[in-house]
C-alpha cells in the first residue's frame, strides 16, 4: 500500500494542493492535514483538544470542498489546528472524523499563511487505477 501524500502547488498569487491516497478516507485525512500545514508548521502543535466533525454534500468534489471549508472555519474563527485526523466514516455524501489538536499560540507556533477560503477553481476528486487523487486551490 502506497502512503497518502500531498504536493503544494506553488503559484505566484495563490496556494493549492494535489493529494493522492489509496482510499477516500486517507485522501480526506491527508488533504485536511495539508490545509493546516500550509497555515501553521504542525511540528510543535499538541493534541490538547479532541473534536468531532460531520460534513454532508452531494458528491465527492463538493464533499472535499465543504470538508476543507469546515476545517478552515475552525481555524479562522477559533484558531483551532488539527495535528491528527481520524476518518470514522466516509462515502460520497458524508464524512465523519475525529480531530485532535489545539488553538494557535503565536508564541509557540510557527504561523505561515492565512488561507481565506477553499475555491471551486480547478477542483477535482477522482479515482484512477485504484489511487484517489484531488486538486484544490485556496484563496490566500
Amino acid at each position: 500500500m502506497a502512503e497518502a501524500l500531498f504536493r503544494e502547488i506553488d503559484h505566484t498569487a495563490d496556494l493549492g494542493i494535489e493529494v493522492e491516497a489509496d482510499t477516500p478516507g486517507e485522501l480526506f485525512c491527508c488533504a485536511g492535514l495539508a490545509l493546516f500545514s500550509l497555515m501553521v508548521n504542525l511540528v510543535g502543535v499538541e493534541a490538547r483538544e479532541v473534536r468531532e466533525e460531520t460534513v454532508r454534500a452531494e458528491d465527492w468534489e463538493d464533499l472535499l470542498h465543504d470538508w476543507l471549508s469546515q476545517l478552515l472555519r475552525q481555524f479562522l474563527q477559533e484558531g483551532f489546528i488539527a495535528t491528527t485526523i481520524t476518518i470514522l466514516d466516509i462515502d460520497a455524501t458524508h464524512v465523519r472524523a475525529r480531530l485532535t489538536g489545539e488553538k494557535l499560540d503565536y508564541e509557540r507556533h510557527d504561523f505561515a499563511t492565512e488561507i481565506k477560503a477553499v475555491t471551486y477553481h480547478q477542483l477535482s476528486v477522482f479515482c484512477q487505477d485504484g489511487r484517489w487523487r484531488a486538486r484544490v486551490i485556496f484563496d490566500v
Binding site: 474563527q77 503565536y106 475555491t119
Partner: protein, 481 residues
Amino acid sequence: MTNLTIEQINDYLWEIPKHGGMRVPGRVYATQALMVDIQKDAALEQVANVAHLPGIVGYSLAMPDIHWGYGFPIGGVAAVDAEEGAISPGGVGYDINCGIRLVATTLSSSDIQEDLPKLADALFAMIPCGVGAEGAIPKLSKAEEKKLTTEGVRWAIARGFGSARDADYTEENGCLAGADPDALSDEALSRGLTQVGTLGSGNHFLEIDRIEEIYQPDVAAALGLSLGQVAIIIHSGSRGLGHQTCEDALKVMGKAMEKYCITVPDRQLACAPISSPEGHQYLAAMACAANYAWVNRQVMMSLAERAFLHALQISPRELGMRLIYDVCHNIAKPETHVMNGVKQKVWVHRKGATRAFGPGHPAIPASLRPLGQPVLIPGDMGRYSFLLVGTERAMQETFGSTCHGAGRLMSRMQAKKAGRGRDLESELGKAGVIARYRGKGTFAEEMPYAYKDVANVVDVVDHAGISKKVVKLKPLAVIKG
C-alpha cells in the same frame, strides 16, 4: 504560458479578439514589459473566460496589476447589463469590499520621528490583528450586527467611531443600498460577530506614511496634502462575514445555473441572472458584507486615532485626523455608463480593481468633485503607495475603473525561501520602516522583494490616462497580522 492571440492596440493597451464562447473581446492595460510576465500564467485565459458571462457589455477588462486568480483574474473588470446580465460572486471575490482608506493628519514626519517605535507599539496593541483576533466591539449581538450591515459606516459614527463627515468621504457614503441581513446565512452572521474592527492577516495592513512626492500640486493642495505630512493607510475587508457570503452564494449559483441555461468555463465563475431570486439574494447579502467592511475600516481608523493620541499625548485637534477617501477594490456596483453614445444601466464587477470616476461625477463628494475621485493604490510595505484621481478617460474606456495594487512577483514559498537566514526586520529598518507583526511566515511572504514595483503599475494607468498620479507616500511604520 498562454497560447491566446493578443493584439497590441497602443503602448499601454492590448486586445484579446473574440473567439469561442466569448461574447465580447478582452482588453488588458499593460506595457510590453509587464505583458511578458502576464503571459507566463493563465491570467489572460481568465480574461477570455470572463467574456463568457451572460449580458457582459463592452470588453472583459484587465488592469496592469492583473494576475492569475480563480475564476476572474485579479485586476479584472466586467460590466453586465442591469436587466439582461448575470451577477458572479467570484467576480467580487471572497473578501467583499476589501479596500483602502487614506487618512491625513496635520503632523509632519519630523514631529513623530523619535516617537515612531512607541506609535507602532500603540497601534499594534490597539488594533486586533492576526488569526482569531477579536474586535473592538466584543459584545455585538446578532440584532446589532444586522443593523450594522444595513446602516454601514453611519452605524460606527453613531457609536463614537469617527465623525459625521467621514461618511461623505467614503465610496457610496459607506453604505451600499439594497442590503438585507435576512439574505445572510447564520454562519456568515456568526463569523462576523467578533470581527468588527479587526485587521486580519495576509496582505492586510495598517501603515503610517509620509507624503514623499507630489505630482499635481494643485490637486494635492485641494486635498489638503503637502510634502512631509503624516498619513495613515488602512487595508482590510469584510473578514469572515464576507468570505462566508461569497461561499454561500457560489453554492447557490452553482446549482442554479442549469435552471437558467447558463454555462461558464470555470465553476468559480458561477453566476445567476441579476433579476433572478438567486441574483437578488446575493446582491442583498453582498451589500451587507460591503457595509460590514466599511464599518470595519471606520472602527480601525478611530482606534488608530486613539493610539496616536495616547502615544503622543496630544489632543485630537493637534493630531487633526481627517479621512481623505475610502475605496473598495472587490465589489459589484449598479452604475450608469455611456456606451456608444447611449446611457446604459450596468452592474460593474471590480475584482482587484478600483473605481476611478472622473471630475464632475455626482458620486464624488462635492468638495472633491472638480478633481476627480481619489484612488488609493498601495504598494508593498517597504517602498511606496500612491494616491491618484479618476479621469473622464476612465469613464469612456474602463467603466470608471483602474488598478488596485502591485501584484506578487514571488510565490509565497519562494518569498519564504528568499527570506531564510536574513534579518528581515532590520532590512526593513534600513529602508526606514518599523514593523510590528503577528506571524513570522506572513511577514516573510509580504516582504518588498516578493512584490512587483507598484510604480510600474501606476505608471501604466497614468500614461494610459485612466487615472492620474497625485502623490506618492512612503511607509514609516507598518502593522500586520
